[in-house]
Amino acid sequence: MKKHLIIIAISLLICPIIISAQEWDPQHDTLDAAVKTDSRRVVESLGKMTTSVEGVRRVISPLGEGDPIRWAQGLPGVTTGADGTTAFYVRGGNMGNNLITLDGVPVYGYSHLLGLTTIVPQDVMSEASLLKGGFEGNSSNFTAGHLKITTKDPNREKFRMSAALNNFLASISMESPISKNTSFLLSARISPLAWEYKAVRGMLPSLLGGFDNFGAGVGDVYGKFRWQTGKRSVLNASFLGSMDGYSFTAADNADEKMGWNNLIGTVNWHVDGNRSFMDLRASVNRYTSSQEQHKEYRGVMNHLTLKSSLIEYMFSFDRTESMFKAFKMDYGTKLRITEFAPGQVASVNNKSNSFLGTVYLQGRYDIEDKLSARATVRGHYYRNMKDKSIKTSMEKIKAGRFDYDASVSVDWKIFKYLSLEATFDRMVQYYHTLEGLPVGWSLDMIVPSSREIAPENALQGNLGLSSQIGKHTVSAGGFYKKMNDLVYYKYAQSLFSGGMASWESDVDMGQGRSYGAEFLHEYVGKDLYTRVSYTWSKTDRFGFPSINEGGEFHARFDRRHVLNAVAQWKGFSAAVTLQSGHWENGAAETYPMHVPGAEWTADYFSGVNNYHMPTVFRLDLGYMFSFETGKVKHDVNVGVCNATNHFNPFMLYFDAVTEGWKMIALLPILPNFSYRISF
């Protein structure tokens, strides 16, 4: 595991090269950041927050430009995993309980560059929303947060092109009309990580110790084709391919490789009617991950290849109709056929197919500036094909199962400046993520629910008040969430372990509970924008038979206090994060005991996740400016992440040499830079 952390350390170390290589001279005009102030406001409702691509771009990150997950990590109700990575947790759920969609299609292996960013390029993004409650009818198969990423439509007027370079990625994108009714958008990114490694290796070989032969193949391609098929109908076809592959030789002469890939193809037909609209969508989604190790052990070369894959075919139909003046009805269906093959080692393929059919009905009632209410009911039929019907003398157990879930949200404007908001959700999720390192790497195995490992479900309620007075928006609320059939994988932090092939015997199931209060204040001025979000919450787990004798224990990322503050003035940005430390397993209390003929020291563990890690503090500073030369627009971002170089450890490991425990932090003080041209 330490080896993989070194990879991240290397990747973080490499970035200053880029800076030192850039001999840029700010000789041009330093214009104000081209950011529309209205687009900065994120509050749409207590359970839903939205930002434009500009809002995403302004988030300070190691890449020099933000991404949707980093934006979401600064919102109330959200806690983070390892500092500096894309791991995030919403209202006490697990990381794998979040749903990330790109134009309505789930993205399972969403992280890029060892968890530093996401696979969706900024150039294709239109907006991003985070939903924490009051989920929409066509959102299903998750139990925590839904991060919706929407792509922009290709430009139908003229050809546009842009190129960008930052610490870790070089990208190019173009969009253009093809004919009167057709247009396209293309984007490609590639990472120079391997070349940067070679440069560091050449300059300071001693820095990298016994870590050798590092290779990285990281990139993505996105394409979208738009066809205006009629006056009120549009056909969109898009694809996204991403690749993350890393290889290295560790100090013990083990050749190791790991990586993940996504391939998503979508066709969507949208039709607007007089009083209705309809979406018909088909998609194919292939996500694979792999780990390989070639290592000599006792004179024999051992080879381990562990592969996991998921292929999902999805068909959906959504329709909205305006029934009366203030009432709208949404209904639709979504069919998923998924081929799971988690933990394939040698001849073990672990293949199982599943079918999930969902129908929903949703009513919306809106009285402008007074009341907005929505009620949704969903019905699911799920079957894991390896489950067969069982008939005994006592009962008959069917192979498939029916579930119902529901969402309700009410937004009542009590006074001119004060609204009361309430949401209620019951959600079911028919797959499980066996979560490993909290760094956002998309290496965690995704496994299907079955008769033995039931679907996860969550019940949550949220009540709050919000007020918008002039340039200020304030919201405050509380939530309660109960989670059932959560999965705990005992060897979650193992990499390169053939034992993952027998994952079914190493999972335990239990429950979770989370409650807390969320607060958000936004100020949107002409030049000044500030946002302060604070979350107080308590999240625990219990009822896992093999853990803590079924008793309660802290969820690993049960951070009691999470404070995020952002201030942007003209081109300057500052962001502060202050979070309670997360929980790790403390060392044992010890006591002397005797067995016949010997004395020994016994260990006593009062529980799991009982050691509170240090508080996380991070100050990020950035400056963004734009200038134009002729028809070419230049955007430059510079900044420093963790400007105070605060040590924010995210995990522990046992050093076999010193026989002691060590804390690891990923993000030291880290300058960042990005440069974008567009015309």
């Binding site: 952390l5 350390a9 973080l12 170390l13 200053p16 090269i17 030192s20 001999e23 560091v200 300059m203 300071l204 820095l207 790790e584 397993n585 403390g586 060392a587 044992a588 209390e589 010890t590 006591y591 002397p592 005991m593 005797h594 067995v595 016949p596 003929g597 010997a598 020994w600 016994a602 260990d603 006593y604 563990f605 009062s606 799991v608 009982n610 050691y611 170089n645 040590f647 450890p649 522990l652 046992f654 076999a656 010193t658 002691g660 425990w661 060590k662 804390m663 690891i664 932090a665 990923l666 030291p668 003080i669 880290l670 300058p671």
Partner: protein, 403 residues
């Protein structure tokens, strides 16, 4: 100049990054210490109770437990046996009492600042082990019904055979060797038996393969009988330090009737291991206590709670000694039957027995005229000069070749 400056800046940042990445930590969860109780009731005259607190990871040592009030209650007779008295040694309390087999006991401990700590257990059945050491000559009177065969010096020692008419529910067997360097008895590391059913909780990957004794001779029927027992020992799995016998499992496999008139089960078996300094005696009337420097074998009858505790303790002990890194991440607690605290309140009965390793001693200084065997230059042969190389027991040459 600019380039040099950039390189220096890069080096500083890189070095800062490296040093910022990893730090040592002592993972003390800072929780209230637990009271640890350790009391194994026995058939000895004095019962001992050890009390202490657990030690947190960042503490140098344990906080001494000075004040406690401990009572032993006999639930079978519904009476208080007595209060433990604090001894001179820190953490030790004693009570003059010998526990009665099959009686149900309850221990109550009151420690200021803690809720009542209590535990219960039942004293196990008594042991009834016989042993006898067979020798290679003067065996006329030797038989398996005899507990003490005759023995003379300059003899071929055939080892000790153990016998019992009925084992208790759980029996633990281990050898104690005298270590002259420490001046103490220490547990023998290896132990085998020819019994076919032994708990495998501490089994190792090795098996017993007796050495080939080319000079060992026997044509005595009694020794040949032991030889047949020893033959079973070949290929027996090696256990680390302890043999654990469960009566029920054994009875399913191994039993014999002593006779129609006496329908008791009987066991005759061998125990072999890395034993040194053997203590053995020959006739019942010759019985003597082991000398301080002699080793011996211990048979211990265990209560259910003690069995559960020992099984897990031994497993964790061996795991800690192993090089398996996975043990670092295990968070399983050792079995305890103590409510309100940790440790164990259990019961056992011990019996120590002689142990002479099978054919571990062959004395060639004299000959065995009764059988026409003489010993010359370290070799054993018949008086008619025919060299005798038949291994008494051990793998045949064919087997060795195959191995």
């Amino acid at each position: 100049m600019k380039t040099i400056l950039h390189k220096i800046t890069f080096a500083i940042i890189s070095l800062t990054s490296l040093t910022a990445c990893v730090r040592d930590v002592i993972l003390d969860a800072g929780e209230k210490p637990q009271v640890v109780v350790e009391c194994i009731l026995s058939n000895e005259d004095v019962q001992e109770l050890n009390l202490c607190f657990t030690k947190g990871a960042s503490r140098e040592g344990t906080e001494p437990l000075i004040e406690a009030f401990a009572t032993l209650i006999d639930l079978t007779e519904s009476k208080t046996v007595g209060q433990f008295v604090k001894g001179e040694k820190e953490g030790l309390w004693t009570l003059e009492y010998s526990a009665v087999p099959r009686h149900h006991y309850r221990l109550e401990v009151q420690v200021p600042g803690y809720d009542l700590i209590h535990a219960e257990d039942i004293m196990p059945e008594s042991l009834d082990i016989w042993s006898f050491t067979l020798t290679g000559n003067s065996l006329e009177n030797v038989g398996f019904s005899s507990p003490s065969p005759t023995f003379t010096s300059n003899a071929l020692c055939a080892g000790t055979v153990y016998s019992t008419s009925s084992l208790p529910k759980y029996t633990l067997i281990y050898g104690m060797n005298y270590n002259p360097q420490t001046g103490r008895h220490e547990i023998a590391d290896e132990i085998f038996t020819n019994l076919p059913v032994v708990d495998a909780f501490n089994i190792t990957s090795e098996v017993y393969m007796p050495e080939l004794h080319k000079h060992e001779v026997s044509y005595l029927p009694e020794v040949e009988a032991v030889k047949s027992l020893h033959a079973d020992l070949k290929g027996a799995p090696k256990h680390k330090q302890y043999l654990l016998l469960e009566k029920e499992s054994l009875e399913n496999v191994l039993y014999q009737f002593l006779g129609d008139s006496d329908p008791r089960f009987a066991y005759d078996f061998l125990v072999f291991g890395s034993f040194t300094g053997d203590w053995f005696y020959y006739k019942k009337k010759d019985y003597r206590d082991p000398a301080p420097t002699e080793g011996y074998l211990v048979f211990e009858s265990l209560s259910d709670n003690y069995l559960a505790f020992l099984r897990e303790s031994i497993h964790f002990m061996q795991l800690k000694e192993s090089s398996d890194m996975a043990s670092i991440y295990l968070r399983d607690n050792v079995y305890t039957n103590v409510t309100g605290g940790l440790g164990i309140f259990a019961a056992s009965e011990k019996q120590i027995e002689q142990c002479a390793n099978v054919f571990q001693t062959i004395i060639f200084d004299d000959y065995f005229p009764d059988y026409g065997i003489i010993s010359e230059n370290g070799e054993c042969r018949f008086a008619d000069n025919e060299r005798y190389e038949y291994p008494l027991w051990g793998p045949s040459d064919d087997t060795l070749t195959a191995l």
